[in-house]
Symmetry: C2
Subunit: 289 residues, 2 copies
DNA sequence: CGTTTTGATCAAGAATGGTGATATATGCGT
DNA sequence: ACGCATATATCACCATTCTTGATCAAAACG
């Protein structure tokens, strides 16, 4: 007496029939013939010695046993698919270099951790640089992927996420709304942040001066928290030391910027595809209003 | 490209190999030949294009992929087995009569609910009576099962559970320890409770009188809660209106009684077997100290 | 009504899975 | 070191199972 074991293939067929509502459609979806699906359904019923379906005219109706088995089947298949893709993921090997602007680093550690869990055999290297520079390196195939602020003049890549730009000032400082406005600028979007800010101010009839510049937010932090200038940041770059300014500050609204993922021009390696998908999934959700 | 589906049969042998630590032992357990199990393992590896095991000498070692798949396999098989037995349970049909002493009814409603969930197609009838009477009816095949207090003179049945007997008195009453002790007796154990109580009192050199009798605890409740007599109950029969008396009351300790399940003498019907097993499982745990 | 679509059934061929026999390797005792 | 006992891998063969294309019946549709 051997242990009773369900055939997941048959359960998948059952689910397909339920989803599509017809044997023929299920066959099409599963790339079987109609007769195969018909017989699979019978086989399943025979194995369980149960009646799973009835017909009223042409339409199929599942018995209560059928419905019940469908529940089991869906759970079982979900687990199967998860197991399968997990096992396959462990086979993905190779090396992979991703470029990001230094100031986006805070966005990604959880993604890296998850990626390493899924693909432990992939050697992932991350390098930092300005968006413009990274895009060049991707084109030169020095990088597999780069997650950058989308440049006006290099519109390639897929938009992963839109983020609002904000004016921000040191947490305990009053906004410095003097004229000209003292700006601190840095590089994550290379010139994008600067262009955007200057356009907005110009349109609002404000004058400004670039009081400080730096390669990264880290370099500007002391100046900004000291209240000597205001910066432009994305929402995800806000730290406890920064306070965003809303419309009541009188500063012009800023447009959204786009995070774009650039892929090397040749056919992407499997690891690169996977990481790309993961980044898209993980970063897609928030802030696209 | 068809949806990738694991073969649960192969996963089961994988688990068997892991459990037993050897291909041959796994084959024995699963009633396959050794060669079959060996090939099944290879087939599994081939389907996943993965190496799941290595050998060090004779001993088998699973690779990290193998271990990982084992986790998936165990979960998948657990779900499979649950699904299978659930589906099979729905096929169990028939009628079934269970006898219980009225005062055990409180013990069983959750069991009945669970039973009905598992075996919705079984018509379950419950009848009440004294333990002695129920045992007779089982012998006469008028009942399929009876859960009774085990009688000294009818020792059949399987012991499901042992329960301590307790002296109890109305919640707000002082114990009536007058001499002779006024007892209220009723029938769940037919004469068992009475015999046991009287023996204990006699051994302790106490005198007593049977102040009240009734067919069920319900009939005695007013008298006991009024403080006119003390009763003997099992722990599971305690209600908020009853207060158990411990050794400090000076009453002699009472022995345990046994709950026994009697089955009709002919081969039990499938529903009867199932309910019997369920009762055993559900009632087995507590109070056997 | 005739037409079309859908599902069931059947026979046949292909593919898969299990078995026994056999070869090979490992561990163990003398 | 040698041989024996036990475990595993491999192979060819056979039985069973699975899929398919063809065919038929029944239902929907106009």
């Amino acid at each position: 007496m051997r242990a009773p074991t369900l055939d997941l293939t048959l359960l998948r067929t059952l689910v397909a029939i339920a989803d599509t509502g017809s044997v023929t459609a299920a066959a099409k979806r599963l790339a079987y013939t109609q007769s195969t699906v018909s017989m699979q359904l019978q086989r399943l019923e025979a194995q369980l010695s149960l009646t799973l379906h009835e017909r009223e005219g042409r339409r199929i109706r599942f018995t209560s046993e059928g419905e019940r088995l469908l529940n089991h089947a869906r759970r079982l298949l979900a687990l199967n698919d998860e197991a399968w893709s997990d096992m396959q993921a462990r086979q993905v090997t190779g090396d992979l270099t991703l470029g990001i602007p230094e100031d986006y680093a805070s966005l990604l550690p959880s993604v890296f951790a998850y990626f390493h869990q899924l693909y432990p055999a992939v050697g992932l290297k991350v390098i930092c640089g300005t968006s413009a520079h990274l895009v060049e390196q991707v084109k030169a195939k020095a990088l597999d992927l780069a997650l950058v602020t989308r440049q006006r003049n290099s519109p390639g890549g897929d938009v992963i996420r839109r983020e609002p730009l904000l004016w921000a000032v040191g947490m305990h400082q009053q906004p410095l709304l003097s004229d000209p406005l003292p700006l601190a600028l840095y590089s994550p979007g290379a010139d994008v942040f600067r262009e955007v800010a200057e356009q907005a101010l110009q349109a609002a009839g404000r004058s400004w001066r670039v009081a400080y510049t730096s390669q990264s937010m880290a370099g500007l932090a002391p100046i900004v928290t000291a209240g000597l200038a205001i910066v432009v940041v994305t929402r995800s770059m806000l730290t406890p030391a920064l306070r965003p300014l809303d419309e009541s500050s009188g500063l012009p609204a800023l447009p959204m910027i786009e995070l774009a993922l650039h892929r090397a021009p040749h056919r992407p390696s499997e690891p690169a595809r996977r990481l790309g998908e993961l980044i898209r999934e993980q970063l897609a959700a928030p802030d696209q209003g």
